[in-house]
Amino acid sequence: MGSQKKRNFQIEAFKHRVVVDPKYADKTWKILEHAIHEIYNHNASGLSFEELYRNAYNMVLHKFGEKLYSGLVSTMTSHLKDISKFIEAAQGGLFLEELNRKWADHNKALQMIRDILMYMDRTFIPSTHKTPVHELGLNLWRDNIIHSSKIQTRLLNTLLELVLRERNGEVINRGLMRNIIKMLMDLGSSVYQEDFEKPFLEVSADFYRVESQKFIECCDCADYLKKAERRLNEEMERVSQYLDAKSEVKITNVVEKEMIANHMLRLVHMENSGLVNMLLDDKYDDLGRMYNLFRRVPNGLSTIREVMTSHIRDTGKHLVTDPERLRDPVEFVQRLLDEKDKYDRIIGSSFNNDKTFQNALTSSFEYFINLNPRSPEFISLFVDDKLRKGLKGVSEEDVEIILDKVMMLFRYLQEKDVFEKYYKQHLAKRLLSGKTVSDDAERSLIVKLKTECGYQFTCKLEGMFTDMKTSQDTMQGFNSAHGADLGDGPTLAVTVLTTGSWPTQPSITCNLPTEMLALCEKFRSYYLGTHTGRRLTWQTNMGTADIKATFAKGQKHELHVSTYQMCVLMLFNNADRLSYKEIEQATEIPASDLKRCMQSMACVKGKNVLRKEPMSKDIGEDDVFFVNDKFTNKLYKVKIGTVVAQKETEPEKQETRQRVEEDRKPQIEAAIVRIMKSRRVLDHNNLIAEVTKQLQSRFLANPVEIKKRIESLIERDFLERDNVDRKLYRYLA
């Protein structure tokens, strides 16, 4: 009673009533024993709890606890032995039901007995370290029923038989199953494990070993995976329905091992239906299934990843090295993009957007894109194509998507500086010919390149845009200043290009027609008048002209030609026929350019404003040219393109490559100096590693080249070798 602790009482030893009757204990026990019998016989309604409790209480109080306890054990044991016989006698399918029913009875009886004997549970049992009544009841049940020789194996076999029947598609009594399994679990986890779980797992392993063998012989990969997935789900459902939750991991492990891990390689490489075929046919569901199943077993995902990687590398390698594909750069890049899209979709929808798979995809692309040294050029050509015409009528968002994809390919490139070279060339052509479709798209790509590679990478590209803008302003100024006195003569549009920003080749200026020459002089004096200290040189190889021409029969056309072609055509204002030599002399156009420009005017059907003798496909030194009086074209405006090789020719390629190599030298040197300036002293290998790392965003530096640059810097007294350790470099401020 709660409040008594506050009063200070001297507690004296309690004197028990002396038991007068020597038969007291026996008599009292008889009453209790009788009660236990009645309880087991469902006859408890007449019993008085208070009386039974009081008797048990008094027995314990009067030191007959031991007698009470052992009496309980022997009474309960004898009841259980009877029950055991009863259960053993049950026929076939009734066996489990009988067991279940008796178990419920026993549980209820046990509860009642425990309540009656609560005082013993409370005092006698803890002080003598005996097993509490409830646990005692369970142990006795275990020893006398579950472990009885006639029940133990029969029970196990019945349970396993039921599971097998369920696996074979029959419907079983899951409620009964659940109760029996629950009983085993109540008897202690070791009972559940030893008497059911362990053999269950063994039998399951055998079952799935046989079944998987059967399936793999007759199913294709997708079907097999479907079956495995179904089995796995069935087992998980079984656990949730009537097994211990802790068994889930164990049984799924068995299925995973037998059905997946053991056949993994065979499944992945299965002919006509394995992983590669799934990838080829975009089988998202099957791939997703494979991913989810293989994820469960060790090395499962890495197996998929490796096969996928090597497949992508193989197809990619084929893609970038197949000479057929190299003919059309746009098609080439489009195929790369399609390939990337395909695998992005697969990874997104089937592989759970797994980072490791994305990385594998990226590294595969990096691997094969760089197998072809022309990839940077082709990617730039692809952009060129898109920005020239491909993006017409395409919404702004779609343009962004395409550009983002290109940027992704760009990221894979090791030689980003090569890309820059080509991009510059192509951009220059686009800007000067006014072919670019969208200024926004152009600028957006520049911004993307800038975020990817930094200011340095794009400053020249941006310079080109600035030049275009300034030139427009300049021309406006020029026209408003001189427009009046130009009259009907030719009009001039000049784009002033900053040296260095543009991919200019030093070119010999050709002789312009006199009409033009005067105008050019005017512009030169205007320009130099507003900008002192500058020098202008004409890049006649990059210009274009629009000429109005009247042919013999009076048909008028406006011809859109290059500056070179304009120079040639103007000659025919004063002559009917000119030989190649004469033209060459008059214009001083470099021979290769002149040939191309003559070819495009005399040999292309529909654009042949000139005729030549003899008629042939190629231009010879001895050819003679006339104006083609019979020239006709549906359109008023005729555009005469120069025969331009879109892709670079072999020598041009060599040249670009050389220029790239040349441009890399100062960059490597700069990197070396930067690093040495901060480190002061560094050994050779580390220096090489750091330089490579610093330049990685632009190109993959060749160690031999780095070494050459180091030597050159040593010669120029930027660095010195350490006197003792020759592998060590020292920075000289």
Binding site: M1, F9, S45, G46, S48, F49, Y53, Y57, M118, Y119
Partner: protein
């Protein structure tokens, strides 16, 4: 109060105390009597006879049950016990597991 919610406690001398079941269940022993599965007489009739507890003690015990219910809800008061009852009360408390 409905009959199902009360229980009748009968002392050795035959005095009957009808009290709230919730109060009676302060005693673990009485709780078991009233909740044990199966059908003991006490549960069926809703009354318990205590042949070894005198009326005086049982009355005190019933008072204690109600006091304990209140005390359990946070009211901190003392439960007065006359010293001459102490010994018998303690024995009954042990018996009733209170």
């Amino acid at each position: 109060m409905r009959k199902e919610d009360t229980v009748k406690l009968i002392s050795a001398e035959g005095f009957e105390f009808v009290i709230d079941k919730r109060a009676a269940m302060v005693s673990q022993t009485i709780r078991n009597m009233l909740t044990s599965p199966g059908s003991f007489a006490e549960r069926e009739h809703g009354e318990v006879t205590f042949p070894e507890i005198s009326t005086t003690i049982l009355e005190k015990i019933c008072q204690y049950f109600y006091w304990s219910l209140q005390f359990a809800s946070g009211k901190d008061t003392e439960f007065p016990i006359e010293p001459e009852l102490t010994l018998e009360l303690m024995m009954a408390a042990n018996y009733l597991h209170t």
